[in-house]
Symmetry: C2
Subunit: 138 residues, 2 copies
């Protein structure tokens, strides 16, 4: 959660971070890999994975793992909430203010140290809902 030691600035790492910061989507490791390859064709997938892991350990980015098998990454490392469409898989950022006070509440209830929390909403996004009405009579 807090920076562990120093993190070296390699070309690969910087491009990965740039790519991640340049999108509003919440891409998978493989998507990042494909994008970074446009700039560093010889980068390896393993390097991308290692860097994504390192970066999230240092709090530079956030790893999100929802129901799916693979993780998504988010360059916005501040706490914010998401909506996930169960039909098309889209991930949207929400404007709700993070309810930090809840963390204190949980600390008092459990005696644990709470560092962060995550809130996700699941449903059908407006785009998919439109199509849904066609298939309602199934």
């Amino acid at each position: 959660m807090k920076p562990k030691g120093f993190i070296r600035k390699t070309k690969q790492r910087q491009v990965i971070l740039k790519v991640l910061r340049g999108t509003k989507t919440h891409p998978t490791a493989d998507w990042v890999y494909q994008e970074v390859r446009k700039e560093i064709p010889h980068i390896s997938l393993g390097t991308v994975y290692r860097n994504l892991k390192t970066l999230s350990e240092h709090g530079e980015i956030q790893e999100l793992s929802f129901g799916s098998t693979h993780s998504h990454f988010d360059a916005n490392s501040e706490n914010h909430y998401h909506f996930i469409c169960q039909k098309c898989g889209a991930i949207q950022d929400l404007d709700l203010r993070p309810m930090v006070s809840l963390e204190k509440e949980v600390e008092e209830e459990t005696g644990n140290e709470v560092y962060t929390h995550r809130l996700e909403f699941y449903g059908i996004c407006s785009a998919c809902a439109g199509e849904d009405s066609k298939t309602t009579n199934s």
Copy 2:
């Protein structure tokens, strides 16, 4: 989210459900497999996976996927919140009342249909925190 058609009651399925309801932990598929094998030694892992999937599709159980690579399952299909220890991986149920009103808020903000939400707290559980103080001076 809502029951889809009929679900056949096989011996395997019933034991899986029983095992899951008989624990307060949030076991992985493999743990369930090991437990069920005590009663049905010849059950296959594939069957366990298939049933866990079926059961969660029918709303009988809940699939939880946190940061880790593998899913955990919860026989409590009502919405409730969790605390996850980032050191030992323990998962605790919390007593916080589900904030259903948030779902409406998100619906209004986004225009999406929200069916459910999930809230998780991350940190260090009290047991691990005790040990932590020994290694603070690293």
